[in-house]
Amino acid sequence: MKKLLSVIFAILMMTSILFSAVSCGENPAGPNAGQSQTSGVADIHDGKFRVALLINGDLGDMSFWDSANEGMLRFQKDHPEADVKIVEMGSSDPTVYESTLAKTAAEAYDLIIVGTTDMREPLQRLVKKEKYADRRFVIFDTEIKDGKAADYKTVHSIMFNQNEGGYLAGVLASLMSLDAGSANTAFIGGAPNDIINDFASGFMQGVRAVNAERSASIGAFHSFIGDFSDSPKGKSLAETYYSGNDVSVLFAAASQAGIGCVEAATLTGHTIIGVDSDQYAFYKDSNPAKAAAIVTSIEKRVGDTLYEVCEKFMADTLTYGDLEVLGIKDGKIGYVDNDNFKALVSEANRAYLADVAAKIASGELKIESGLKRYTTSAELTALYDSLDPTKK
């Protein structure tokens, strides 16, 4: 009897490992065609285009990673001759990132795509190895090394001007607050990392610009949940703004934790600006009440970007050892103009926002970056504080 139970328990533990693996979606099986036994690195010159996207996060965030995933799936659908693999490495265990990258590079992938700053160091170390010299890499949402993209001859770096998206959100939020007669608006970030600060910096500049032009004094709170998954905390933060601080619309750039903010907007009857993907579209059918609270989403079109990267690779026009910065002018940052947006935002404000976007695209209007390589944290804090209602 005891033996039987031991066996059952052992099986249970095994399943536990299996479950964590499944939920991380890591699928170690890959194409091993032409794997050379001597070097351990597969030969990629077999005429088939193989591309892998390594996701160092979790799918289902309804923003950044889902967008990347969608772009790659769309590419696979449109190009059945190519072989697309997506590996979801999960956010819980960063120690697997480097080994998964090395493993993928050893397989027959022509192009390997990774994203965010967490992947910089693993990739920097990997590309230094001679045996991967014929592989090509793309790293997005960061530069392989600040200002040093040229040193990495097989890596193409892509960054986004999320400050432009933040600016649009700031302009829209303050215009809507003026119409609603609210004194304040707010920015809620996941954690104060470089990308989120860039969003926030743009948002504050947008509010400042509207204040200057309309001689208004809309205040802008800023706060951070602390991580990207504690949705109860996100909800509470947003609720505090909505119910006690005269905020009627806010901008949340906090991935999954931001969905908690959407819940707060829904419950208190206020509105929110979503981020990265069209969050209204996610809820339109399944949860109309929630969808109705989402004015628009500031899109960072990661999926489109990756799709084009793959096409460029196939056409042999992708360049390496360089940094590409994409923004409104490239159609990679923007806002969603859907039915809900038309219903909630006045025509004049819509025209105003479109005009601002056009000015940014043409280069007439330049938004300052919030990335730490361009802006010191003291400057950033000064910008945040200048609009902070608690400092007035």
Partner: protein
């Protein structure tokens, strides 16, 4: 700032943050009193939260969702009982293993049922109702705190009373305390420690289930991966502070809830570095444990 701390909103929201911690602390309390360490409360809450919210969504009944959450909590506890009591593994190590299982399992269940891995916000659950008592809720300061809360707030109060009664006035309570204090002595008078510990773990599972259900069926209407966010562990700390006394444990849970909410809410009223605010609940845990250790040491030196 003083105004903020004593505002009606602050009190009400502190309770919201305290409730999951409180249920976790009660779960820890009942198992600790029976002498079995269950550090899998975090994991149990997470699996119970996802099962409860999904059951609530598909059945359209929050009662069913709540029952499912409690049953799943009990199920998770029974896994520990199987490992630690039947197979005599180390309960601490088994707890760690079960926490790992729960992290994956909760997302797996979400994925198996809805096909998403992040959260179930596209499938909102039938919510556990709020109880709002007219007139009484308008009493200044404490009105909203006491008379405009989730149903589970009142359940928590009942649980506190229930625990005090159970531990001090019932046979099972005496057995639990005896087994926790000295299993060999208890066994010599005919109490089967394993049976008693199993009963305690069943209760522990019920409390974990309530904690999970509060997060995914009352405060939020959906489950989100990682939403328990350490509340199960903070509950264990609150229980340690409350030295196994239900009332003290409840008070410390409230304190932890208040500090957690302070770290969130103060961002909106104070110009204080957010990084320091966010560490407050953990600093508070440390300070609390230091005070606890000093008191214990003094007690021992007096003996």
């Amino acid at each position: 700032m003083i105004g903020f701390v004593f505002s009606e909103e602050f009190l009400q929201r502190s309770v919201v943050f305290a409730l999951p911690i409180l249920f976790a602390a009660f779960a820890a309390l009942i198992s600790n009193r029976a002498g079995i360490v269950n550090i899998n409360i975090e994991g149990s809450m997470s699996v119970a939260a996802v099962c409860g919210t999904l059951a609530g969504h598909f059945s359209g009944s929050w009662i069913l969702g709540l029952i499912v959450a409690m049953l799943v909590g009990v199920g998770m506890s029974m896994l520990l009982a199987g490992a630690a009591l039947v197979l005599r593994t180390d309960s601490f190590l088994s707890g760690i293993a079960l926490n790992t299982l729960a992290t994956g399992l909760s997302v797996y269940i979400l994925y198996a049922v809805l096909g998403v891995k992040g959260d179930s916000s596209s499938a909102p659950t039938a919510a556990i109702p709020n109880i709002s008592i007219p007139i009484l809720r308008d009493i200044p300061v404490i009105g909203k705190l006491l008379f405009d809360q989730s149903l589970l707030f009142y359940v928590a109060i009942l649980c506190t009373v229930f625990l005090v009664f159970l531990l001090n006035r019932t046979k099972l309570g005496t057995e639990i305390r005896a087994v926790g204090h000295n299993p060999a002595a208890a066994e010599s008078v005919g109490i089967n420690p394993r049976v008693v510990k199993t009963k305690a773990l069943i209760l522990c599972g019920v409390f974990s289930g309530l904690g999970g259900a509060f997060l995914s069926m009352s405060y939020l209407m959906y489950f989100s991966a990682g939403m328990v966010a350490g509340r199960g562990f903070i509950g264990i700390a609150a229980e340690a502070m409350g030295v196994g006394n239900p009332v003290l444990t409840a008070l410390f849970s409230f304190l932890f809830g208040a500090v957690t909410y302070f770290s969130v809410g103060a961002q909106t009223v104070l110009s204080f570095p957010y990084q320091i605010l966010n560490t407050l609940p953990y600093i508070m845990t440390l300070i609390a444990l230091i005070i606890y250790a000093v008191i214990q040491k003094n007690k021992q030196s007096k003996k």
